[in-house]
């Protein structure tokens, strides 16, 4: 694990449609918030890590160079990391590695996206290989729907039961987003609203799907020495796991999703977690689609394979349940993709430091954050704790 590393500050923009600001100005907005939260200035920062979706989403190549001023990287080392949806976890891991290695004491990590300026589904379709898969692809809905169909078939989950549980995941995330001032979609929805919403890609309906959001997130990593000096209540990084699989969707078994399973196991091993359902206090899962949240709960060992719908229906993952998932309202209610995985981490930091406001899970001490990316290809997991 290298040196101990803490998160000493986080920042988020107001997420949603942001035609009021240019992209660089939106990025600078979040840097200011994070610096203030940490109580430091740019002078204290040794290096900057930035990440977004593929540049096609942004309309400008090498966004980290375009944003060099906005992310405070002038005169500093800069690193760009891009792993599609899992970018937010990848850049967090890079910030962690940089400080853990002893090569830097304070690293600023920023993820950003303006989903509403380009064509997100067209961009995502170019993530598929150009020879075999791309002509048949249909962005995120095409991929995620195939995965959830395969999962339900494999574990003989009756369609009605899957539908009921997915609707409950949607209701629960929307309820939670009402408590989150940063969330993009803040509205109450009922089980019937979800089940009667427009079909996007059967059986997935509109309220099973995240919005396209503009937004940014910044997280500041520090060494133990600096963290203890600067920050009253740091959150400590206890484990990081990241795994990838083949770019061909049909080659690995997406119903058990090896990369998600192994990324979590790696992070658990480092953090010494044996029974995640009992030991974790809160989880922020990357859930752009309701069905995906259930598949992830199984990959992360929160419940046996094929049983996530049962656990959802008995309320295990709701606020007040045994392991609350996505008290922020999750990716389902806010998805500026390049920032999303980092938002998951920032939210767990707020939880274990008692700063999560109305969405606080009482007494949370140890939490899991996660993001996935590519054609169901990459998964990253980070465990944070209030204890060193």
């Amino acid at each position: 694990m290298g040196r101990a590393v803490a998160v000493i500050g986080t920042g988020q923009t107001k997420h949603g449609r942001r035609p009021d600001v240019s992209y660089p100005d939106m990025v600078r907005e979040v840097i200011m918030v994070a610096l203030e939260d940490a109580g430091i200035t740019l002078k204290d920062v040794d290096g900057v890590v930035h990440g977004t979706m593929p540049s096609m989403m942004e309309g400008v190549s090498s966004t980290h160079l375009y944003f060099a001023e906005a992310i405070g990287a002038v005169g500093k080392p800069i690193m760009k990391v891009e792993t599609c949806g899992s970018t937010g976890q990848s850049i967090a891991h890079c910030g962690f590695f940089w400080v853990a290695s002893g090569m830097a004491d304070i690293v600023l990590v920023v993820g950003s996206e303006k989903m509403n300026e380009g064509d997100s589904q067209a961009t995502m379709t170019t993530v598929f290989d150009p020879y075999f898969q791309r002509v048949f692809a249909a962005g995120a809905p095409g991929t995620f729907t195939m995965q959830c169909m395969e999962w339900m078939y494999r574990f003989k989950i009756p369609e009605d039961k899957g539908r009921e549980a997915a609707a409950m995941v949607s209701v629960s995330n929307h309820d939670n987003a009402m408590d989150n001032p940063y969330a993009h979609i803040r509205m109450k929805v009922t089980m019937d609203d979800v089940k009667n919403s427009r079909i996007v890609t059967y059986p997935v309906r509109l309220l099973d799907v995240c919005p396209s959001s503009d937004g940014a997130c910044a997280v500041i990593f520090a060494s133990e020495e600096k963290a203890k000096k600067i920050c009253k209540k740091p959150a400590w990084i206890k484990g990081v796991g990241f795994r990838g699989e083949e770019s061909f969707f049909g080659e690995s078994d997406k119903s058990i999703w090896p990369s998600a399973t192994e990324a979590a196991q790696e992070a658990y091993r480092q953090a010494g977690i044996k029974d995640p359902l009992k030991e974790l206090d809160v989880a922020e899962i990357y859930n752009p689609f309701t069905y995906q949240e259930m598949i992830f709960c199984e990959c992360f060992g929160f419940c046996p394979r094929g049983e996530a719908p049962d656990y959802v229906l008995k309320g295990t993952f709701k606020k007040g349940g045994e392991l609350p998932c996505c008290p922020s309202g999750g990716t389902l209610c806010t998805n500026p993709i390049g920032a999303t995985g980092l938002i998951r981490l920032a939210e767990t930091v707020l939880q274990v430091t008692g700063k999560a406001g109305a969405r606080q899970v009482e007494g949370a001490k140890i939490a899991l954050s996660h993001a996935m990316g590519g054609v169901d290809q990459f998964n990253g997991v980070t465990i944070v704790s209030s204890n060193l």
């Binding site: 035609p19 009021d20 096609m56 309309g59 064509d119 589904q121 067209a122 379709t125 150009p130 020879y131 075999f132 898969q133 791309r134 002509v135 048949f136 692809a137 249909a138 962005g139 809905p141 095409g142 729907t145 195939m146 995965q147 169909m149 395969e150 078939y153 079909i199 996007v200 890609t201 059967y202 083949e246 061909f248 969707f249 049909g250 080659e251 997406k254």
Partner: protein, 155 residues
């Protein structure tokens, strides 16, 4: 300033590419012209992959053994797409699927068609997870993945 007054600049980035296929993909498409679906077998793990690779992603060994696989297979999963977006090649609505051809160890992404696709509920009665489908060939071959026009359910 009212919201609708926020100003934008219209921008576009159109870049043409000529992406090299490499030997393995070229050969696969040549076989399609002869109405043969060929995979490659890994000598180390024995898996047969369709589409074929020049090397096994798991063993990192060169794959040089061509194997003909069946033109029929099983539907591993599918999705009904009725969502248009910029640059889409296939006209909506269409069904994309993962098809595990007989003798292959991976799913091939392709279309399931050959019947009325306008109503998703009717499509659900025809396309089944675990159901069998069979390749239908395009009359005119262009040396790409659409030389297989689509897969149709086996009655």
């Amino acid at each position: 300033m009212a919201k609708e007054e926020y100003r934008i600049i219209e921008a576009e980035a159109v870049v043409p590419y000529e992406l090299a296929l490499g030997g393995t993909v070229s050969n696969f498409f040549d076989y399609l012209k002869e109405e043969k679906i060929m995979g490659k077998r890994c000598r180390k793990c024995s898996r047969v992959l369709v589409p074929p690779r020049s090397f096994c992603p798991r063993c990192f060994e060169e794959m040089d053994e061509w194997v003909e696989v069946g033109q029929e297979g099983v539907v591993e999963t599918w999705v009904y797409i009725n969502m248009p977006f910029y640059g889409q090649v296939i006209k909506v609505p269409y069904v994309s699927a993962q098809i595990r051809l007989d003798g292959s160890d991976s799913g091939l992404t392709h279309l399931i068609a050959g019947f009325d696709l306008t109503n998703v509920n009717k499509v659900r009665e025809i396309v089944k997870l675990g159901g069998r489908v069979k390749a239908v060939w395009s009359k005119e071959k262009k040396g790409n993945i659409l030389d297989i026009a689509y897969f149709e359910p086996v009655k």
